[in-house]
């Protein structure tokens, strides 16, 4: 116990910069979001173009309650966003994990050219979401895109004016998979390299077929990692925003003429933040709903996988 006294002031000093910054930019926003979400018609005194009044201090509100949440649930945009995000997440994430696992297995078993393939597969990891989103927009361009030129379907709109929901969604999913693969491959590969070689040698002696080696050794031993990757990917995918903006390249969530077609949950939250006349509480309520969804997914996945994951 003597030691506690000794290091107390040193710890205070060492932690001061981080705690100071975190209390302004992390802890306070959490508290403030919780408060704002439940303040009805919360507005900021003397709301000039961007001089928002002190929260609570200078703001006025009409009551405390669930009005913000009610407004969110009553808006069409929210449900569109929820649908878009869910479809994107529940198709693209499992797809990315499966393809990533397959590539990692292939890479791990490859002797020739392993370094080359590795470099290629890791490339998308560091790329700029906006820049590559613009590239995907160009690849799927209605008249000059690679896809339409290759398949002779020039004039078929993927992401330009007149695009259908499913076509735009397909492009988004292709981009999401492309963008997410590298990270999964890196993690799976390093996981596989840490699996004890004895298992594989034993399998080799019994001349076990590759498929059985994969399903009976690799997957079970990798299952904690697969679970971890799946959860983090679901969370990450639920926060999709920049990729959508980039694909359409207009600063909106859809092609000209249907600007909100592909709006995501995060997009919805930020829209509410900018919309004049909408109290900030609505955006806060939206962000808390997003948080609740993320918590729910994490919880469900832990539950489901409890029996299936070998630690």
């Amino acid at each position: 116990m003597l030691e506690y006294k000794k290091d107390g002031w040193k710890a205070t000093l060492a932690l001061a910069p981080m705690l100071l910054l975190m209390s302004v930019f992390t802890f306070w926003p959490i508290i403030n979001s919780l408060i704002m979400a439940f303040l009805e018609d919360y507005s900021f005194g003397g709301m000039a173009s961007h001089a928002y009044a002190r929260v609570i201090g200078g703001g006025t509100y009409n009551g405390i309650g669930f009005a913000n949440f009610v407004q969110v649930f009553n808006e069409k945009d929210f449900w569109v966003a929820l649908k878009n995000t869910s479809v994107m997440v529940f198709i693209s994430v499992p797809l990315t994990v499966i393809i990533g696992l397959a590539i990692a297995v292939g890479l791990n078993a490859t002797k020739k050219l392993q370094g080359f393939f590795q470099t290629v597969f890791f490339l998308p990891y560091v790329t700029n979401t906006i820049a590559l989103g613009l590239v995907f927009g160009s690849v799927f361009h209605i008249e000059y895109g690679l896809i339409n030129k290759v398949f002779g379907t020039v004039g078929l709109s993927w992401i330009n004016h007149g695009a259908t929901w499913w076509r735009a969604m397909l492009v988004l999913m292709v981009y999401t998979v492309w963008n997410g693969l590298a990270f999964k491959i890196i993690v799976f590969l390093s996981g596989m390299q840490s699996i004890d070689k004895q298992y594989y040698q034993a399998a080799q002696i019994d001349s076990t077929p590759r498929w059985r080696v994969f399903s009976k050794i690799t997957v079970p031993l990798l299952s904690p990692m697969i679970l971890y990757i799946t959860i983090t990917s679901f969370i990450g995918a639920f926060k999709a925003y920049s990729s959508v903006i980039a694909i359409f390249g207009t600063g909106d969530y859809g092609p000209v003429g249907n600007e909100k077609m592909m709006i995501t949950l995060v997009g919805y939250i930020y829209d509410k933040m900018w919309e004049s006349g909408t109290p900030f509480g609505v955006g806060s309520a939206g962000s808390l709903i997003l948080f609740a969804i993320i918590l729910l997914i994490t919880f469900v996945q832990f539950r489901v996988s409890k029996k299936r994951v070998h630690y």
Partner: protein, 329 residues
């Protein structure tokens, strides 16, 4: 192959055929997926040096062609001027509409701003993270584990919860969409010079440093601060390098916050990501003889190439950071 010793000829043959088929599938799959990864990069690079007539021609060309001979052009005849056009713009000569067909993009500023913001964010972050990781790994104080758990718990919360209030805070300080370049920098840097995740990451490395070293240093009368500077930081050099690189990449890729706090009308305040959107907004629809799809790809290339260089130079460090902890930069 030891198999030849214990397999008869027939069995050996089936084994070899099976293995060959397996290999074909394996390499075929890898090559197919590698193409899927590489094609967008290829399309970006090659489109960026095509002239507009070739971009809008219905034919698919894999390399830039000469407009007269319709044959593949030599690299020195490719439309490298697209990159110059990005910076000087294309004036509108038709007399209809605005001054520009394509407004010049402030690439110099975009790069400079991103590097300044990235550098100071990283310096600040290393400072706060090293100190905090030191406190959490080496010092004994009341409530250490509780505090650390609370900090870790905040990582669960999506960034969107923070953004709204942070925007309000920063705007109260008058730094939002300001004309003051320095204040704009502050708005971009200040909220990001802490990182719970990197603190956690560095703490893990610090914890691996044997206790005996610390005790020995204590016997020699070394102060804690000196010990941190002379022993712990040098020993955690690899982890710190990873943190620095990932933090710089993070700034390079940041879009949401910069697009909120920067006034797009002040074009010399733009970072690379929001600069791309601001500079190219609406351009995707510009089909026809004035299509700037090639310029758009040139802009994407300019933003992507520095990242690729960093990736190739620091590949080992990046991989290490990612595979150790599973983070998305």
């Amino acid at each position: 192959m030891e198999r030849e010793l214990y397999l008869d000829k027939e069995a050996l043959r089936t084994f070899k055929i099976k293995r060959a088929i397996g290999n074909i599938f394996q390499y075929g799959f890898l090559i197919l997926m590698a193409l899927f990864i590489v094609i967008p990069f290829y399309w970006m690079l090659i489109s960026s040096v095509k002239e507009t007539w070739e971009i809008i021609s219905p034919e698919l060309t894999l390399l830039p062609h000469n407009i007269e001979t319709r044959k593949i052009a030599w690299p020195w005849d490719w439309a490298w001027e697209n990159y110059a056009k990005l910076i000087v713009g294309i004036p509108n000569t038709s007399g209809v509409g605005g001054e520009w067909t394509f407004r010049p993009m402030p690439f110099g500023w975009m790069f400079l701003n991103t590097i300044v913001v990235g550098l100071f964010t990283t310096i600040g972050m290393v400072f706060t993270v090293v100190l905090a990781a030191f406190a959490f790994s080496r010092l004994n104080f009341k409530g250490r584990d509780v505090l650390f758990t609370i900090m870790l718990a905040t990582m669960m919360i999506p960034g969107e919860v923070f953004v709204i209030t942070n925007y309000m805070t920063i705007s109260q300080w008058g730094w939002v969409r300001t004309d003051n370049h320095f204040h704009n920098y502050l708005a971009l840097i200040l909220p990001f010079i802490t990182s719970v995740f990197y603190t956690f990451f560095l703490r893990q490395t610090f914890k691996q440093i044997p206790n005996e070293l610390y005790l020995a240093a204590k016997v020699d009368g070394t102060t804690d601060f000196k010990y941190l500077l002379r022993v712990m930081i040098p020993m955690a050099k690899a982890t710190l390098t990873t943190i620095i690189i990932l933090s710089m990449i993070g700034t390079w890729n940041a879009y949401i916050w910069p697009s909120f706090v920067t006034n797009a009308a002040n074009r010399h305040h733009l970072l690379v990501s929001n600069g791309l959107i601001v500079g190219l907004a609406g351009a995707v629809e510009s089909t026809g003889p004035n299509s700037i799809l090639n310029l758009q790809m040139a802009a994407s290339t300019l933003v992507t190439v520095p990242l690729l260089i960093v990736f190739f130079v620091f590949k080992k460090h990046i991989m290490r950071g990612v595979s150790r902890s599973g983070i998305k930069g």
